[in-house]
């Protein structure tokens, strides 16, 4: 907006920098002390001898790698399952008109707002009865409540953007419905699909409550494992920072990949930014 007053401009930019400091300094500082030796933790602030010791210790036992791989496995599994059932569902909600369509669509959306604890309490009981407690599949299943609404609602918007005329034309040319879906629709929604998949991956990866309460020692993920570092008696701050850095890194990198789709993704298709 055309604000020409130079003092206002300086004030504006300093306020912006102040917020940037608030938002980014914690991440920078975390990265910084993850390279700091425990010896120097208490008597230095910014100037110290950088070391990879924390990362070495973290990876030496293989324990943390295990948590990390668990996280990768359940997150990838949850997103793939959501894609498999969610892409067709999104297509149906975008293209067909049928009774109860909006109600169904809102049912899927409402999962995003269902209190996690309310889902967990009865599931805790049922998972133990049917043997899904503390299993990767149990987690992948319950994570559908997070990833499926994202996939369905974001992709529904992308399917709606494709003109039905294109599909009609292909059908007239003799392609079967299934081939039209695969050869015409899929390439067109691919960017949106990748973005929706990555975004839901981030939110599944970040989940703490489901993993904490529906998994025990069998499937520990990095978010739950990080709690250990708080409650343990001997506090290795450097290792804690290294663990945090590694848990946060994939998400920050993925976020950079989906810049263009972020608005649409975060608002679940409500805003076509």
């Amino acid at each position: 907006m055309g604000n020409t007053n130079p003092i206002a401009k300086i004030l504006k930019n300093s306020a912006l920098l102040l917020y940037a400091l608030f938002a980014l300094f914690p991440l920078f500082w975390m990265l910084l002390i993850s390279f700091k030796h425990d010896r120097e933790m208490f008597n230095t602030i910014f100037v110290f001898n950088p070391t990879l010791e924390n990362y070495r210790v973290l990876f030496s036992t293989g324990e943390y790698i295990g948590y990390f791989m668990n996280n990768v496995f359940v997150s990838v599994g949850a997103v793939l399952l959501s894609l498999a059932v969610g892409v067709p569902a999104a297509y149906a909600l975008a293209r067909f008109d049928f009774r109860g369509k909006e109600d169904l669509a809102f049912t899927f959306l409402s999962f995003r707002f269902a209190p996690e604890m309310l889902v967990i309490l009865p599931l805790f009981l049922i998972y133990q009865k049917i043997g899904l407690y503390d299993t990767a599949f149990g987690l992948i299943w319950v994570f559908q409540l997070i990833s499926l609404p994202f996939i369905i609602w974001i992709l529904r918007g992308y399917f709606e953007d494709i003109s039905p005329e294109i599909e009609h034309a292909a059908r007239v040319d003799g392609y079967s419905w299934w081939r039209v879906f695969l050869k015409i629709n899929m390439p067109l929604i691919k960017p949106g699909m990748v973005a929706a998949a990555l975004l839901s991956f981030i939110f599944v990866w970040n989940n703490f409550t489901f993993t904490l309460l529906l998994a025990g020692q069998g499937v520990v993920t990095t978010t739950v494992a990080s709690l250990k570092y708080i409650s343990s008696d001997t506090v290795h701050y450097g290792q804690m920072a290294a663990a945090v850095t590694i848990a946060a890194l994939p998400e920050v990198l993925l976020a950079l990949l989906i810049q263009k789709h972020l608005v649409r993704g975060l608002s679940m298709g409500a805003v076509k930014g």
Binding site: L125, F208, Y237, A248, L266
Partner: protein
């Protein structure tokens, strides 16, 4: 062909299915039943998957009427006992108050801060362009990891913020450990994580605004605040409502930040509804007593979201209609 009926304009290909047979089409047009069932069939896997998760949800209503406990094998039907016990318990009303306070302060701060930062980011300077990309990083961090980061920053022996506070003479700021500052601490972490969400949405709205009305407002010499109030705000209202909807719904049920920082403490300072339900179920092992806390929160969230969504769709119609 007449048995197929009129082409249904709402169903793609319906007209094609009824087209003359010399067109190069599937030989047999789909029968009406299949055409009607097709969307449901395509949706079925997604529905089955989520119904499997939702059945427990309905079972939980039943269990809330029993004295089910993880300690014993047997349980019996106790009617509304859990509910009346909860509603007459003063700690329940304390939980409601904590939950509302948390949602109000975190959402309120995030909305105001998010709008402000978005307005500042909406200029074509190099600084604004660079920050647009990196300022979303906190949003991608798991709330529990964010809590850990802030715990390290405020840690009395190694924390950089604790250092800074000491250097200006503040030694007794206890963050999550003191009842007075506990709410501030958890809200601060929530604000750190989620303000970028509001920024991203509002910024998208600001960047899609038409230029013309703002240029004429500038020619007319309207103040910046006047322009914002009469032009910008009404135009981005639908977006603000979406941001508000998401933030309110999710902050009302926030569990991980409070759990990771204080487990609801000190004392019962931060015992929100999800924390209380967690305590009842996993500390006292009383599932039947825990469920009403979450069911009542869910009803509240459901009603609130219903009205917010209705208000949003009306605002969207107004914004695009005028």
């Amino acid at each position: 062909m007449s048995s197929i009926g009129r082409p249904d304009p709402s169903v793609p290909f319906a007209d094609l299915a009824n087209a003359s047979p010399n067109r190069n089409m599937d030989k047999i047009p789909p029968i009406p039943f299949m055409r009607k069932a097709r969307p449901y069939l395509i949706l079925a896997p997604a529905l089955l998957l989520t119904i499997g998760i939702l059945i427990p949800f309905f079972i939980s209503i039943y269990y809330s009427l029993t004295n089910y406990s993880f300690k014993y094998k047997d349980y019996s039907f106790v009617g509304l006992e859990n509910w009346t016990k909860m509603l007459t318990d003063p700690s329940f009303w304390h939980s409601v108050w904590v939950t509302l306070q948390y949602a109000f302060f975190s959402t309120g701060t995030e909305m105001l801060l998010g709008i402000g930062v978005a307005l500042m980011l909406n200029q074509d300077t190099r600084l604004a362009k660079a920050l647009r990309i990196v300022l979303i990083f906190p949003l991608m961090i798991a709330p529990v990891i964010a809590t850990l980061i802030w715990q390290l920053m405020t840690n009395n022996s190694v924390g950089v913020i604790a250092h800074a506070l000491r250097s200006i003479g503040i030694n007794n700021f206890l963050w999550g450990a003191a009842p007075k500052t506990a709410m501030f601490s958890v809200v601060l972490i929530d604000v750190w994580v989620n303000t970028p969400f509001v920024i991203v949405l509002v910024l998208a709205g600001l960047r899609s605004l038409p230029k013309a009305p703002f240029e004429s407002a500038m020619v007319d010499g309207g103040s910046a605040w006047f322009t914002f109030k009469t032009l910008t705000l009404p135009m981005i209202k639908p977006l603000l409502l979406i941001a508000l909807l998401f933030r309110v719904m999710i902050s009302l049920q926030e569990f991980s930040i409070i759990f990771a920082l204080t487990r609801g403490g000190p004392g019962d300072t931060l015992m929100s509804l999800p924390l209380t339900a967690y305590n009842e179920a996993f500390t006292y092992k009383e599932l039947g007593a825990a469920l009403p806390y979450m069911l009542i929160l869910w009803v509240f969230i459901y009603i609130l979201s219903y009205y917010l969504i209705r208000y949003w769709s009306r605002a969207q119609k107004n914004a695009s209609g005028s």
